[in-house]
Every structure is written in C-alpha cells, then in structure tokens.
C-alpha cells in the first residue's frame, strides 16, 4: 500500500521491515519522529535514552547480542555518541547496526550546521543518504545488509528537508530476522590494545573491500542526458537538481562514504564539465579533486545554509530571481503564553545576572525583551561554563553567574557538570527549570517524568534527591510562577558559599491545556511593566497602553503579579 510518510516515519517503517528489534535514541530535531514512529510497530522494542552516548551503547549491546538494532540522533548528538561510535567501527557487529544521523543545514532548530559525513570518513563507517521517503525506507534495509555483510555499523544520513518532508512510501512486509547466536570473542568485542590492533587491520581491509564493491553497486545511479553538464549530488539536493536542471546528466550518490571513485572518474570523462552540488562542506568535491577528477563546487555554492532549486538555477543557469526586499517585522519563535520559563528569565534579567544557559525552549530567554541569556554552547554546557567563569574570575568576580538548564538536558549531560562543581569546590549556582518534559522537540518523556517512550509508568528519577546525592550544598524547590519568591531565594543563595541548586518546577504550558480564562487589562497606566516579560498574549497598543489578546492568553497570571496598579484582572469562568 502507498502511504504519505515523513522521511522520519519512512525510516521507522524501514527499520520495522528490516526486522529491527531494538531502537534507542535521545530526541533531537530533525530526528525525533523516527523513534516516536518505530515504537508503534509490533516486534520492535524502542526507548528514550538519557543521551546519545547511552543510546548508542544500547544499540551496540543489542547488536552484539545478535539482534538488528538502530540508534537515532541529530547531528550534534553524534558528537555525544562519538566515543562508542569510533570503537564500534572496530568491533563491528553481530546483528546489523544502523546509526541515523540527521543534519540540519540552515539551522532550522540547531546550534550549528556541522556536516556529519566527516564522521563517516573519520570513523571508517559507511554512510548512505536517501533522497525521499521511499528511498529512506529502502536504504535502511540496504544498510542492514551492508552492516552484516561487511561487519560494520552503517550510517544513514538525513537532512531536515528529508526528515520533515512527506512523500509516498510503498509498505512491505516485515522480514523476520532471527537473533544470531552470541559467541564470546575478545579479539572482536573487547577493545584493548592487543585486540584493537587486529581490528584496526580488519577495519581497513573492510573499507577497501567495500570501496571496491561499491563501484558496481546499484545504490549509486547515473543518468546520462545532455553531456555538456554532469552534476554530482546526493540526498534531497538530487531532487532540487532534477527540478532545476531537468536536462543535465546526474551522478546520484546513494552511498556518500566511501565514494565510488572509479565510477565518478568514468562519469567525469563522459561529460564536458562536472559540477558538485552538496550542502555544507565540500566533502565529495575535495575527495574527487584528490583523486584527480576535475570539478567545481564550492566556488559556486556556499558552505552555509541550504541549497534550493532557485540557488541552483542562479549559480548554474545564471537565472537570478527577482526578489522583492521587504522591511517586515521578523517573527522569531517565542516562549509560549503561560510558559513557566518566562518568569524565571524575567527575574534573571531584572537581577542583571550573567546567565550561562543551555539547549531547550529556555534558550529563547536570550531574545528581547527578556534578553537574559549570556551563553549557550551545547547540551549540558551551562554547568561547566558557570564553573569555568568562577575558576577564572574567583568567587567574588563570579558572584553574579548562574547556570540554567532544563530537566531533560540536566539528565542528558548536566549531572556530570554538577559532580565536577562539587568535587572541585565550586560556588556554582544552578537553576534547573523542571517543566516535566523534553519541550522543544515536542514533549518526549525522560527519566525524571517517570514514563517510558511506550507510555508505561516506570521508576521516576527524583531530581531533588539526585542533586542532593551528587553533593549540592543547598537545594531548594520553588514554583516557577512564584517570581518574587524566586528573586528572594536567588539573592540569598548567591550570598552563600558552596554549590546551590534551585529547582523551579512547573509543567510545560502545552502539556495540560485546561487553562483558566483569559485575563484582561482595565485602566492601564501605560507603565510598560507587563510588556517586559515578552508574553505573546500582551500587545502594546498605539497609545502605549497594554492589551491582553484573549485568544492567546492562558491565564498564567504572571502579568498580574507585575502590575503595580492592579490594572490586570483575572478572567471570569
């Protein structure tokens, strides 16, 4: 049956059809929906892990045990998982092991636009890149065959436009793949120098064999049309090329590492000019040039952002698009009305603290009018950065520094930062914004919600007990809506010696939508106080007064607490 599916749903379908038994992942845009979709299939165990490193290790374990397994992550998650990944390339697999890595050119929802293809080359792990949903499903199945035949983990690389585009997928039956027997073999599964030396040889031999075999594989396709121009591309860029240059000859790389160099050479000889069109880095281009293939790529196309049909037409055909420039107000993402983070950032901004923040919805606290955030680097970095500030500036110099992290991110990679701060006698002040979910990626469960991916209740990680056990000197819990209480608490904690943790608790406003009625403003004195919290439901009128938009207000009451004139009224049920 043909069905419209997101690239991510198609990957899940592919895993199901390939007989995958174990999937582990940490949510991350644009990869999250794979795991959410795959858990719905019978015969597949899927879970949220606290981070990508753990998820990867779970997949390795399942593979060693003999089952087909999959681990999914966004591009920056690959950095977290890199440690087990590089050595899993040495051990190889028992049951097939597939790593889905989702890149985000254009940074729709990411802090950088790294190119994961370099990991494939650096770790010597083959990588496939599909160009639409049906291909995504097919490539997953091919990836398991390659994984088992060549005894290697296999990457599937996606990008946002593949992951979050729907196209038709032909569903097929699941292939029931038996669990392979596990046999103890320390030369393969125990990576210490003596055995790893042997495995490194195996890795190299495998890669040479694969690179040779890929020359005749049908996973790379050549379309010879007009021989004036030959395009080399992969993934969703292939779709842009098809639309922008319908008459061009195309070498479509299904396997993006290792490259079928001999076949690319042949293609280059068959066309007059070769142009490589790839998003982000000149990954193909540089390897082709190193192998003596004359081509152009990044002299035409940027290393930044996404490629599009219009850009290809402009760079290759010289058709420039007539774009009307408009000076319109931008519409950046904002914290939702009723977001429990809002009041916290209002307080941090008011107190003029230096805020080392983290990855999540609360990153939005950086934007005007809250403008409360100073630094954001990666998952879990807020704690280390705050500690580093203190070690650089001393206790007095860093008295205004606060680390801010969410509940899911704290569990992901914040805990070790806290251990470090305690161990190294820090005076770090940490705010954990516990909204009882993984917010930005669309509400995924995690260990501190007490619910699993499949919706079962489980032992709930108690964050208060956890930070106590990790050694925090002072631990306080406060309602995230209690802004005056929070300000008082912060002031007293900042004076204290030792590591302090404040857990500001309140579930995400989108979780329980049983909202109180909208508030309203009467006889506004135009002081602008309520506008300082950047609530999307409070609008500044032309005359300077504030008005609450009743269709957006969820009745959190934060603005009422701020109005010194009592002009804001609770809604009536």
């Amino acid at each position: 049956m043909k069905k419209l599916m997101l690239g991510n749903e198609a990957i899940a379908r592919g895993a199901y059809e390939a007989g995958v038994r174990v999937v582990s992942a940490y949510p991350g845009t644009p990869s999250t929906e794979i795991t959410e979709a795959v858990v719905k299939y019978d015969g597949v165990y899927a879970e949220w892990a606290p981070n990508e490193k753990v998820a990867f290790e779970v997949a390795i374990g399942a593979s060693f045990a003999g089952a087909r397994s999959m681990v999914c992550m966004k591009h920056v998650g690959v950095n977290v998982a890199a440690d087990p990944m590089f050595t899993a390339a040495y051990t190889g697999v028992n049951g097939g092991l597939v790593i889905v890595a989702a890149d985000d050119p254009g940074m729709h929802s990411s802090q950088n636009e790294q190119d994961t293809r370099f990991y494939a080359r650096s770790a010597h792990i083959p990588m496939l890149e599909p160009s639409n949903s049906n291909e995504a499903k097919e490539y997953i199945k091919k990836a398991y065959k390659i994984s088992e035949e060549y005894d290697t983990p296999v990457f599937i690389r996606t990008t946002t436009r593949l992951a979050h585009s729907q196209s038709f997928v032909t569903e097929e039956e699941r292939e029931e793949v038996a669990i392979k027997p596990y046999q103890k073999d320390i030369t393969k599964y125990t990576m210490m120098p003596a055995s790893a030396i042997g495995r490194h040889k195996a890795v190299e031999a495998r890669e040479i064999r694969l690179a040779k075999d890929i020359e005749s594989s049908d996973i790379n396709t050549v379309e010879l049309n007009d021989k004036k121009l030959g395009i080399v591309c992969s993934g969703v860029v292939y779709q842009y090329v098809k639309e922008a240059l319908p008459t061009a000859s195309i070498f479509k790389l299904g396997m993006v590492y290792p490259l079928a160099i001999e076949r690319l050479k042949k293609f280059a000889n068959e066309v007059e000019e070769v142009i490589v069109i790839e998003e982000l880095e000149p990954f193909f281009e540089n390897q082709m040039k190193a192998n003596g293939i004359k081509c152009r790529g990044k002299e035409l196309f940027s290393k930044q952002g996404e490629i599009s049909v219009s850009i290809i037409k402009e760079k290759i055909l010289g058709i420039s698009q007539n774009i009307e420039k408009k000076d319109l107000p931008v519409r950046p993402p904002v914290m939702c009305a009723g977001c429990p983070h809002r009041g916290v950032f209002y307080v941090l901004s008011k107190m003029k603290l230096t805020v080392s923040a983290d990855i999540g919805c609360y990153t939005l606290g950086a934007q005007a009018p809250l403008s409360a955030v100073d630094t954001v680097v990666c998952m879990g970095a807020s704690l280390g950065i705050a500690h580093g500030f203190e070690k650089a500036l001393g206790k007095e110099g860093s008295k205004k520094v606060v680390a801010v992290i969410g509940d899911s991110t704290f569990v992901h990679s914040g805990m070790t930062g806290l251990v470090n701060a305690v161990y190294n006698k820090s005076n770090m002040k940490l705010l954990i914004l516990d909204n009882s979910t993984t917010g930005m990626t669309g509400h995924q469960e995690h260990p501190a919600t007490g619910i699993t991916l499949s919706g079962e209740t489980t032992k709930k990680l108690d964050l208060v007990e956890l930070v106590k056990v990790l050694g925090a000197d002072s631990v306080n819990v406060i309602d995230a809506y209690d802004i005056s209480g929070l300000e008082k608490l912060l002031k007293s904690e900042l004076e204290k010696d030792g590591v302090s943790v404040i857990i500001a608790k309140r579930p995400c406003a989108l979780l329980n939508r049983n909202y109180p009625s909208a508030f309203s403003i009467h006889d506004c004195k135009k002081c602008g106080m309520c506008l300082k919290i950047g609530c999307p439901a409070i609008e500044k009128q032309k005359d300077g007064s504030a008005k609450i938009n009743p269709s957006l207000c969820v009745g959190c009451g934060l603005c009422k607490d701020l109005c010194k004139f009592g002009a804001i009224e609770e809604g009536k049920k």
């Binding site: 599009s308 037409k313 774009i323 931008v330 519409r331 993402p333 939702c336 609008e539």
Partner: protein, 191 residues
C-alpha cells in the same frame, strides 16, 4: 483543475496548519497524483513563522516550492502572507485569513505591524481573497474550524470539486468532528 499544483501554506506556529497539509496530502491520493509535503518542526513551531510546502503533480521532485512557483499562497495570518509573496507565480492566488497575530518586535513596540497589508498583497497579484475565517468559525460555534474554512476557499479557487475535498476531509478528521468540518468546508467554498 490544473495538473500541477504548488500550494504554500503559511502562518504562525501553533495555528494548526498541519491538518490543512494532511488534507491536501489526502487530496493528492484522491486525485491519483504524486505529492510531497514539507513541514516545519522544532524551534520555529514555538510561535514563529511557519511554512508548509505542498506540491501535487504527475511526478514531484523537490519537496520545496521554488521562488515564484506557488500557484496559491494560503495564509492563516496577514503579515505572514506578505512575508512570503516572493514565492507566488505572477498570476497566482493569495487566500488570506483576516487575522493579525503580533510578532514579538511589534508586541514590545520596537516595530510596527504593517498597515494596508491587503493593498500590498493586491500589488503582487490581482487575485487576493480575504477570508474572515475566525468570524465564520465563531458563527459555526467552533473556532477550531478556521483551517478547514480556509481550505474550502482554497478548493474553490483551485477549481477542486467539493465532492473530492469532502472525501479527503473525511479521511483526515475523527468521525465525530466530520459533520462540523464538512459544514466549515462548504462555508469556505461559498466565499
């Protein structure tokens, strides 16, 4: 109806443009056409500007609509319609919901919400259809039908038969919401 159809759906994260794109996807199934839909997930969904690309044809390559290649822009919010006019074909149609949602720079008084948006849109194309979908939805007694009302307007302007739209709708909404949505679709179709 034309065979190739590029529909750009724009709005503000949280307005529920996803049901509209699901119904358009189902429409492709009913019409026996190839289809690609490209959505926005993650950060931009939090009240940001959101775009869905929907392409229907015998064979669709790029999931993203190129500049000046949309047959129709369907906007759930006025300012967002203006933001994306560079995607519209010369003779394209703009269906715009007459609703203003102020973006943060306007809310805090750093920028003004543009005046005369409809007049600006009319400079781009002759075919601008303004819908007061929220008002119609309120009259129907269900404000959640805004997107389906707008889809009705879209169907009418693209010459898609009502019967096929109803079929597509039926497959995308829960049975107990079908009747009210069908009425909403018809209301939009009548505009």
């Amino acid at each position: 109806m034309k065979k190739d159809l590029n529909i750009l759906i724009v709005g503000v994260g949280g307005q529920g443009t996803l049901l509209a794109s699901r119904i358009i996807g189902q429409l492709a199934v009913e019409l026996g056409l190839d289809c690609k839909l490209s959505e926005v997930h993650g950060m931009a969904q939090r009240g940001g500007s959101v775009v869905t690309h929907a392409k229907l044809a015998q064979k669709v390559d790029s999931p993203i609509i190129a500049l000046h290649d949309a047959d129709i822009i369907v906007s759930f919010e006025k300012l967002e319609a203006l933001r994306y006019t560079n995607f519209l074909k010369e003779d394209g149609v703009i269906v715009v919901n007459n609703q203003e949602i102020l973006p943060m720079p306007v809310i805090i008084g750093a920028k003004e919400y543009p005046q005369n948006i409809i007049a600006e849109l009319e400079k781009t194309t002759k075919k601008v259809v303004v819908v007061d979908a929220l008002k119609i939805a309120e009259e129907l007694g269900n404000t959640k039908t805004v997107n389906v009302i707008i889809l009705g307007v879209l169907a009418k302007n693209l010459g898609i038969e009502m019967e096929i739209m109803v079929k597509a709708l039926q497959k995308c909404v829960k049975p107990n919401f079908f009747e009210i949505n069908k009425i909403a679709l018809e209301k939009g179709y009548e505009i």
